[in-house]
């Protein structure tokens, strides 16, 4: 459903991805694992054209969503990003907007004016992000009053409000404690029913717990990709085996 073919990315001639081809099936959680600096975040950001905002970034190859190429010249990256959302490692709610305003910011700042619809979407998104019960009485307060895990769920709600088809998550739990992490993983299982999720993680246990498919990246190249059970019980490549058992990396 979300796929890339021969994706090569360099920054001012420094090559970070050397030609990666991957396929992420619809309504599944796919994890990208690998040591620091292997290119996992770079790969993830290629899927919502975030590299368009970086000077000196060159992206070649193909990225398709449901068969449609997202890098066609003339295609507005803003429209791509409304279909492919992203959640970042450190929660980043807008500090000058209230919790309610944060949730609908993607919609309102893109032109939606109907306040009834905005209220409905806010409530639905906060429920989908398992945050509604905790914030329904303080929608007007500042998001900095929320805990780290709650802020991250707010960012997820904000991303969901735009109604994307894919949600990209760049190490979403690495700044959170284990309980907050568990809540987000539960949330991911529920979201899987209506979205495709791709998560980058350096935490092997999380990839094993939370994903259906795992892809292992090393120095900008795809080493192995497959069902998570296979990768974690009988990986085909010895490099994969050595990485996930902690013999290097």
């Amino acid at each position: 459903m979300l796929a890339c073919k021969d994706l090569k990315i360099d920054f001012d001639k420094k090559v970070v991805l050397k030609g990666v081809s991957l396929h992420f099936p619809a309504n599944k959680i796919s994890a990208i694992i690998g040591p620091s600096g292997c290119g996992k975040s770079t790969l993830l950001r290629a899927f919502n054209r975030m590299h368009d905002l970086t000077r000196g970034a060159h992206v070649t190859g193909s990225v398709t969503l449901n068969g449609q190429e997202i890098y066609t010249p003339g295609e507005d990256p803003v429209l791509v990003r409304r279909r492919i959302g992203m959640v970042f490692q450190k929660p980043n709610p807008f500090p000058t907007l209230s919790i309610f305003e944060n949730t609908i910011s993607g919609l309102r700042l893109s032109g939606e004016r109907n306040s009834a619809r905005l209220k409905d979407v806010a409530e639905q998104s906060l429920m989908d992000a398992a945050l509604w019960d905790e914030v329904k009485d303080r929608l007007r307060s500042n998001p900095t009053t929320l805990s780290g895990g709650q802020q991250q769920r707010l960012c997820i709600a904000r991303a969901l409000a735009v109604n994307p088809e894919v949600l990209l998550m760049d190490e979403p739990c690495s700044a959170l404690d284990p309980i907050a992490t568990a809540k987000i993983e539960e949330l991911m299982f529920r979201l899987r029913e209506r979205l495709t999720l791709v998560i980058v993680t350096h935490n092997m246990q999380q990839a094993a717990r939370a994903s259906d498919l795992t892809a292992f990246l090393w120095m900008g190249e795809l080493v192995e990709a497959g069902d998570t059970e296979m990768i974690f019980t009988s990986p085909k490549k010895s490099m994969t085996e050595d990485y996930i058992t902690g013999r290097f990396g």
Binding site: R55, R82, R158
Partner: protein
């Protein structure tokens, strides 16, 4: 070893003393000046300063109503043009321009901010007064706007840079257009600092005298017509101060005190805004 230790201690104390003296010397003029200003000008601060027009020399009393209102008009016009343009330029530099263009623009602003205000006055003379064939409030505003612009651009740009990049990323990831991210998210996040910069730039141009000499030119009567010459407070202070009349000297001190109180008020207001914003973030 003990002797060396004592020697170092004494040396440390001496150096500390030297620095203290330097600090006192640096601050002394401020206190001397404020003391003098209050002593001389306080007596002339009265209601009549705001309500009466200047009297001819020899006659007692009179006020600076025309100069005060004139300053408000000229500074106000300059602000109306200078602030939006300055903020817009700063947003362009931080959110849209490439690194080379941004640094070139920043360099231009740095140069502009160092140009003496009288030169800006000359420029306004050339491009407004000469074609219009007479002095005017508008030309004064133009000169002040030129002076104000680089200050607004630089302070706004600094404040925008302080906004964490993660907020921009979040905005882009949501599919919000860049200009909207800049105006509704980044500018809002930088608002307290930007507001402070605005207040400080206004208070800076409120005290400019040299450019007014040949742009606004001055006017003994009350005039609020932008196309006519107009009196401004610093200009009037200058005229009164160099005059031979004691009464006018007294008014000049009063005007100077008024100006300084205005600037002090503006500075306090900007500090208050920052404090209030910090407090509201922490609740």
């Amino acid at each position: 070893m003990n002797r060396g230790h004592v020697y170092r201690k004494i040396l440390g104390r001496i150096m500390e003393g030297v620095c203290l003296v330097a600090a006192v010397i640096a601050v002394l003029p401020l206190f001397t000046f404020l003391w003098h200003l209050f002593a001389q000008g306080f007596s002339s601060l009265s209601f009549s300063m705001f309500t009466q027009l200047p009297m001819p020399p020899g006659e007692l009393g009179g006020g600076m109503k025309n100069a005060i209102l004139g300053s408000v008009l000229v500074v106000g016009l300059a602000t109306v043009v200078g602030i939006p343009v300055g903020i817009g330029a700063a947003i362009f530099m931080t959110e849209f321009a490439g690194p080379t263009i941004a640094s070139a623009l920043r360099f231009a602003c740095d140069v502009l901010s160092g140009i003496p205000s009288i030169v800006m006055g000359l420029l306004a003379y050339q491009i407004v007064v000469v074609p219009m064939h007479h002095f005017s409030a508008v030309s004064g505003s133009v000169a002040l706007a030129f002076i104000m612009l680089p200050v607004v651009v630089i302070t706004t740009q600094e404040m925008l840079y302080l906004v964490p990049h993660s907020l921009r990323e979040a905005g882009h990831a949501l599919g919000i257009p860049t200009w909207r991210i800049a105006s509704s998210i980044i500018l809002r996040a930088a608002a307290p600092g930007v507001l402070t910069g605005m207040i400080l730039s206004v208070s800076r141009i409120a005290g400019e005298t040299a450019p007014m000499l040949f742009t606004a030119f001055g006017n003994p009567y009350l005039s609020l017509d932008p196309k006519s010459p107009i009196s401004t407070l610093p200009h009037m202070i200058f005229n009164y101060a160099i005059s031979p009349y004691d009464d006018w000297h007294r008014l000049a001190w009063g005007g100077a005190l008024l100006l300084v109180l205005g600037i002090l008020g503006a500075t306090l207001l900007s500090r208050f805004i920052l404090w209030w914003h910090q407090r509201s973030l922490n609740t």
